[in-house]
């Protein structure tokens, strides 16, 4: 506060925190997609970034080109993402189950390249607005301006989390998925079909990816090939919470989102020696700091190693 030109008001801070939560929710949606696939199949899915991209474009196609109702388009894009996830699982991932993690990562990277380039080939490389009903409207809460799109993002993420909680806690398929994640052999022994579990987890990841893509593109954002790259920023969010933990994904998303917004607000004033654009590196700095203290993330499972 020593600087004379510095005028940080409580309202500006509140706005920053709020947009940090909104950005964090978007990361959390992407990270949840990573986590559910990893939990069920032990695959670190780089193709999640292309689910995000394809979801955004599908929604744009239906809402803008075909002029469907936006909410119908959103749901249809999620269904499209789910189908895409299932197809990837059915055609490719199933064949390499149990291979070393590196081979699995690279298989999903191959899928990422194919899907990203086909998407750009179909829809072209330019950025375009999603024309969502929220637009750039804001709600005034005293002196604090809150973007409607951000409010919706927070609401949708909360709804997705609630659905997650109900699904995993209170449905037989959800319980089967948790059992398979815990111990695949034991789950098979009590008659749980691991294939269905894998298929469903990829479908959920695809749908979540599409939802994340639409949320990222709504409001001030846009649909374009860069959407997939934003999804890669969710890596720190996913990993600092722990690869297996949905709760960790949300906490990680919020931490990264808030840290990014706060860095953008405060770092040029208080630590200019860190250089311009530090908010783009901040997620990785936080991730490294947390992982060095807790190598399996905040809520991750410690791997048991035997000789």
């Amino acid at each position: 506060m020593s600087s004379s030109g510095w005028n940080l008001t409580g309202d500006a801070l509140a706005e920053t925190l709020f947009s940090g939560v909104a950005v964090g929710c978007k990361y959390a949606l992407v990270a949840l997609g990573f986590v559910i696939v990893f939990k069920a199949t032990k695959v670190l899915n780089f193709a999640q970034a292309s689910f995000v991209l394809v979801g955004g474009f599908l929604c744009w196609q239906m809402a803008v080109t075909w002029e469907l109702n936006f909410y119908v388009a959103l749901l249809a894009a999620m269904v499209g993402g789910a189908v895409l996830g299932m197809v990837v699982e059915q055609l490719l991932m199933r064949r390499l189950l149990g291979e070393p993690p590196f081979a699995l990562i690279m298989l999903t990277v191959g899928v990422l390249y194919v899907l990203d380039n086909v998407t750009t080939a179909i829809w072209g490389p330019e950025d375009r607005g999603l024309q969502d009903p929220w637009g750039s409207r804001t709600v005034d809460l005293g002196a604090v301006n809150l973007a409607v799109a951000d409010l919706w993002t927070i609401g949708v993420t909360s709804a997705a989390l609630l659905a997650f909680y109900l699904f995993f806690g209170h449905s037989s398929l959800g319980l089967a998925m948790r059992a398979t994640a815990d111990d695949q052999e034991a789950a098979l022994a009590v008659g749980i079909d691991a294939r269905t579990v894998h298929r469903v987890s990829w479908a959920v990841a695809g749908a979540l990816g599409a939802l994340a893509g639409i949320m990222l593109a709504s409001g001030a954002g846009s649909v374009g090939p860069g959407l997939g790259l934003i999804a890669l920023v969710a890596f720190p969010a996913m990993i600092l919470g722990g690869l297996e933990s949905p709760l960790g994904a949300v906490v990680g998303g919020l931490v990264i989102g808030m840290a990014q917004q706060l860095t953008a607000l405060l770092q040029p004033e208080f630590a200019p020696w860190l250089g311009s654009g530090f908010e783009r590196v901040a997620p990785y700095a936080i991730m490294v700091a947390i992982l060095l203290v807790r190598p399996y993330g905040l809520f991750g499972e410690r791997e048991v190693r035997r000789i």
Partner: protein, 382 residues
């Protein structure tokens, strides 16, 4: 052993067939058997004669292949031999490229000096990053190393004297590429015979590939190489039998970083200026992925596989970029269809990676093993 229907002389003497055993002396030898020596001679002949009957444009592509081969050999030591996945390899490559620009181009240092500095900085940064591998494993390590390319991007973005800030490019055009009396940058000259810059750079780059391959081969066939493979196969067991995993992991990160930096120096020779967006940040991540794909397609845990992979991926990509526009796909030339050549390259790249992982995870190196097996087993080669 005499009950076996096919008794060879060695079996009669109570020893397994020569293809089944590998003595320690063989394992330590640089080249095994006369065939490999003959093959090495053939390679040298190719190396010396290629620039005489290849166009300069093709030669500069081959020089780029060499740059990627050097970096891939380093990455293969890390991933293929030691089992530590790194997605930050492009950051190490960028060290070499920017050393060429900052020291060679802008300060006029000679080639051995800036190459040595690049290699040393690569070694040092590798040794700094290495300890992360002691704490983090598998997927966690892979994600944390992504951080490297973003940190590198941040440094280059803010280090204004290093690159032209507006366009983000660092010139390398005027870097001196001389080694004693041999001036590769202007073109070699022996008496009346004058060679072009491309021809000379080809010789320099592939000599560096050979040197890197020799260093890597020597590492892998000695104690440290066996320690690396023990750590890859099971690091706890390796520790139990007396391998120091910490030293091994940090060491291999350092060596791989140094090789990547050397690759970066060669990489910058083929370009007039280095763009930091290519080697760091989001596209840097894709560059790292390209390196990983090279060693998968070539063959994990083989040195010549890294070179084959670099050839397949980089030469293939450049070939399509240069000639793909007219290639008919489903009867429609690419440029008139809905795929651009860049997108065609990306799709093919992805399909290659997927195809190799599903059908031949041991890479191109294993295709040769298959051929050899077929002939060895003939007439029962099924």
């Amino acid at each position: 052993m005499s009950v076996l229907p096919f008794t060879s002389r060695s079996a009669a003497r109570g020893r397994p067939h020569r293809n089944m055993v590998l003595t320690r002396a063989d394992d330590l030898r640089l080249t095994r058997g006369p065939w490999r020596k003959a093959f090495a001679v053939l390679l040298v002949v190719c190396y010396l004669s290629l620039p005489h009957w290849y166009s300069d444009a093709s030669l500069s592509v081959l020089t780029l292949v060499a740059a990627f081969a050097i970096g891939s050999i380093g990455l293969n030591l890390l991933v293929g031999y030691t089992g530590q996945v790194s997605l930050g390899h492009a950051a190490f490559v960028s060290i070499g490229a920017f050393a060429t620009s900052a020291l060679g181009d802008q300060r006029g240092w000679p080639l051995p000096a800036y190459l040595a500095v690049a290699v040393l900085v690569g070694l040092l940064v590798g040794a700094i990053v290495g300890p992360f591998a002691l704490r983090l494993r598998g997927n966690y390590l892979a994600i944390v190393t992504i951080g490297l390319v973003f940190v590198a991007e941040h440094i280059y973005r803010n280090w204004e004297s290093l690159s032209v800030p507006v366009r983000g490019t660092a010139p390398t055009r005027n870097a001196a590429i001389e080694l004693g009396p041999l001036d590769f940058g202007k073109g070699l000259q022996f008496g009346d015979v004058v060679y072009t810059r491309e021809q000379s750079l080809f010789w320099l780059a592939w000599a560096l590939v050979a040197l890197t391959a020799l260093v890597a081969h020597n590492i892998t066939r000695t104690r440290s190489g066996r320690a690396m493979q023990a750590v890859r196969d099971h690091d706890l067991s390796a520790e139990v039998i007396g391998v120091n995993p910490a030293r091994t992991k940090v060491g291999v990160f350092a060596v791989s970083g140094a090789m990547a930096a050397a690759g970066g120096v060669v990489y910058s020779f083929t370009l007039g200026a280095v763009d930091y967006h290519e080697l760091s940040g989001g596209r840097g991540l894709f560059m790292s992925i390209t390196f990983l794909a090279i060693i998968i397609l070539g063959g994990l845990g083989t040195i010549y596989g890294s070179i084959l992979g670099a050839f397949l991926v980089i030469y293939g990509q450049r070939f399509i970029a240069d000639n793909g526009a007219d290639a008919p796909i489903l009867g429609i030339p690419v440029e008139k269809g809905w795929l651009s050549t860049g997108e065609l390259n990306g799709v093919l790249f992805g399909l290659l990676v997927i195809g190799f992982l599903l059908l031949e995870p041991r890479g191109l190196a294993a295709l040769w093993l298959r051929v050899r097996r077929w002939f060895e087993k003939w007439p029962f080669s099924y």
